[in-house]
Amino acid sequence: MTDAVTLAAHDVRWEADGRMIIDGVTLAAEPNRILGLIGPNGSGKSSLLRLLCRLRKVASGVVTLDGADIAGLPRRDLARRLAFVEQQATTDVHLTVCDVVRLGRTPHRSAFASWNAADEQAVEAALTRVGLAERHHQPWHTLSGGERQRVHIARALAQDPRELILDEPTNHLDIRHQLSILALIRRLGLTCIVALHDLNLASLFCDRIGVLHEGRLVACGAPAKVLTPELIRRVFEVEVRICEGTGGHRHVEYVVDHQQGDSR
């Protein structure tokens, strides 16, 4: 099989309620690079990510990790390789920051194994990396949206993964925290697949971008190649101008005719 390294989807399909949600998607992550997934609401980003993590079963096609079908991997082995940060995951259980991050060690511990130095070190390192080292004992329900997102990322890091999958990690964050989360993800140097809404952030932080439209991958490649006015018009139904931003990144400028209001 091609793409024998890291995570790849080969002609993957998934349907729900008799509707095709993911319709023949083929894409591969590149090791230690960030692959961004963009697409309108309901285009299937979250669904595709869930298939890549084997949280749903593909109807046809295969998802491979280092060339092996992930359907054949024990769940626990998969969880040591690949971590997932959900779009919105919260809990009513009274957990502290530390409790949540410790959950990330679950796949590394057997049923009766006690908490050991390696576990503790992984948790400490993860919390430090997201800048929450001083917040160990803060209760989950008192955290802000951005802090929760960072705790989830720390939990994922405590899993010690090589592949990290994130579903809209910048959701609900102010611009400073959006930038800092994405900068953090870049610094990690892991193989990342991340669903994003902001085209400019995708252009700034992703090595490659995949564009989903009605369950199909309509483009995939370097931001400069993918982000064209034609594609954005076709997929998002908005008019844009593409300018050269700082550092050679593409900058997407939205064209709004204030006289006409809605451009459609």
Binding site: R75, R76, T90, L95, T106, W115, P139, Q159
Partner: protein
């Protein structure tokens, strides 16, 4: 910064386990000595020595019988039952992510009452089946129905809860129909009494069944303690942490159901314990299941023994149904815990 200890704190753990054991023993000792027939502690100890170790110490035959065959078996059964119900409640609350989940949610008690009524009033099974056998079969029938309903509806947490509610209503209606149309007033009273729970009929053979069931059930739950923690953020989060969600859910739902069905078959339906003790235990030891489940076992056991003592001595010449006592004293105690937790947070 004070982080949790890196190395497992074995001395502290052993001390805690010993303390729990001592507390349980004291509760049992209290249950054995307190009652309508006042029996001094030395006599009680001698009776225990005779019963447990086959000694031949001087004790009156009646006292020997009351202490060993009646009160001790009853106290131990209360401890097992309280522990089993509390653990079942804690697990269902975690699996279904619902703080109101309790052991009878899956139709176990409704099915048991239908089964018991079938034996008591319709005379099914005659002497071979007995009340407990009928109740157990009823529980299993109700569970099977609820499981079918839940699986057919997709198996998500809220569907399981709804299926449990529907199944319980159906079996409760069946019980009510049989009682109202066929039972004499005397029989109806008997059914009512049974439904509210009663340790009066407990004898040693019941313990030979309940003890292994409770211990094996507890062990299975402990093996899955870490997996239960991972359910905090839902099934997808648990799965992405490497938990075999479907298998863990099936094993734990079946285990709690059988634990509960066994207890209900022997002592009837005792409310409150399975719902509230897990919350009380969480306030004391936190949400981690490796500590929560043993805490539930001990607290539930002690609570039930104390409730049983109260049920025997509260109204002279009469035994209150245990289910009334657990709620009557448990509710204010829990209100106090809630109040203190609010102030401390």
């Amino acid at each position: 910064m004070t982080h949790a200890a890196v190395s497992p704190n074995w001395p502290a753990r052993i001390a805690l386990a010993l303390a729990a054991l001592v507390a349980l023993t004291l509760a049992v000792a209290l249950a054995v000595t307190v009652g309508e027939m006042a029996i001094p502690l030395p006599v009680a100890l001698r009776a225990l020595g005779n019963g447990l170790f086959g000694l031949d110490l001087p004790v009156g035959a009646i006292q020997q019988g009351v202490i060993f065959d009646y009160r001790l078996s009853r106290a131990l059964m209360a401890a097992l039952c309280g522990g089993a119900l509390a653990i079942s409640g804690a697990i269902l609350q975690a699996l279904l992510r619902n703080p109101l989940a309790e052991p009878y949610l899956l139709g176990v008690s409704a099915g048991a009452s239908t089964g018991a009524v079938c034996v008591m009033i319709l005379g099914f099974g005659g002497a071979t089946l007995g009340l407990s056998g009928g109740a157990f079969l009823g529980s299993v029938a109700a569970l099977a129905l609820v499981a079918l309903l839940a699986a057919g509806a997709g198996g998500s947490s809220d569907r399981v809860i709804l299926a449990g509610v529907a199944g319980s209503q159906l079996f409760n209606a069946a019980t009510a129909t049989i009682v109202t149309t066929l039972a004499s007033a005397e029989q109806a009273r008997g059914v009512m009494f049974w439904l509210l729970g009663n340790f009066g009929g407990v004898r040693w053979p019941d313990l030979w069944v309940a003890t292994p069931v409770a211990l094996i059930g507890f062990l299975i739950c402990m093996i899955n303690a870490k997996a239960l923690d991972a359910f905090a953020f839902g099934v997808d989060a648990a799965a992405s942490l490497g938990i075999a969600v479907a298998r863990v859910r099936l094993v734990l739902l079946a285990t709690t159901a059988l634990l509960t069905a066994t207890m209900v078959a022997i002592v009837g339906t005792i409310g409150f314990v399975g719902l509230v003790i897990p919350h009380a235990a969480r306030f004391l030891v936190g949400p981690g299941h490796a500590r929560l489940l043993p805490a539930c076992l001990v607290i539930g056991g002690i609570f039930m023994i104390l409730a049983d003592i109260l049920s025997r001595i509260l109204v002279p010449q009469q035994i209150l149904p245990i289910g009334i006592v657990t709620a009557l004293f448990g509710a204010p105690a829990f209100a106090l815990i809630l109040y203190r937790a609010r102030r401390s947070s």
